[in-house]
Assembly symmetry: none
Homo-oligomer: 149 residues x 2
């Protein structure tokens, strides 16, 4: 088993103990596993991505941290399907449609849907280059579903 998987399983264990929310320091963790700090970033992006049902927040500077939270199982079941279905790009029309569907199926209240639609609207993303726009829209959409629903 490589370092990445050891670190990942350590974090998984800690998450269990800590009831789903864990705050740690990148350099500590790196030291514990005897690897460079940037390895931790790799673990985060490959093992604790939103697609896998985790929220990762961090802060730099003195007293900085990395916080990992697991989304609730119930919610996970509810939303993972949608999040996975979205994939890596999402056009505006589909975004509206998905939001509307989530409202229809009771998974989203209509206010949230409205804001989600606003956040991923053409107007909000007008400055993003057209080539990237759908990708960014997908990221925002997924991030909001994970966090805010």
């Amino acid at each position: 088993m490589g370092i990445t998987d050891m670190i990942a399983s350590f974090i998984l264990d800690s998450l269990d103990e800590a009831d789903g929310v864990l705050e740690l320091q990148r350099s500590d963790l790196a030291q514990r596993f005897n690897c460079v700090p940037s390895q931790i970033n790799y673990v985060m992006s490959t093992r604790f991505s939103p697609e896998r049902g985790y929220i990762v927040e961090s802060r730099r500077g003195g007293g900085g941290y990395i916080r990992i939270s697991r989304v609730q199982v119930d919610r996970e079941t509810l939303l993972m399907h949608v999040i996975n279905a979205i994939g890596s790009a999402l056009d505006e029309t589909s975004a509206r449609a998905i939001a509307q569907n989530l409202v229809n199926s009771g998974a989203l209240d209509s206010n949230t849907a409205r804001l989600l639609t606003a956040a991923t609207s053409h107007r909000a993303l007008i400055k993003v280059s057209p080539a990237l726009r759908d990708t960014v829209r997908a990221d925002i959409f997924k991030q909001v579903l994970l966090y805010a629903v």
Copy 2:
């Protein structure tokens, strides 16, 4: 938790007790937290800026003081003010702070704030080129606020 956050939360508590207006002495506070006085200025400018909804006044010389007051305005005025104040770029830290402050002042419910924070998070915008990121964040933020009004 670093000194800055301890001082900030001490002030927040005192503000609550004191009904929104608080007068204190820089050197006292510094002594209480065992730090240099200029640390207090740092706390003021990073945690109690007007952007975050506070007014800080002060006076030098004998009997000098620092007065911190929390501003209260009605929801729509506040939202519009914020929308206008945001300008064309917004970094992630400020976005979070503004959202939190809008919650504190009752202009946003915490669900909306979470959504807003998620939609404008670093992770949601990671694919946007760094040069554009703060601009796009500002656009999304304003767009969502407009629909939240």
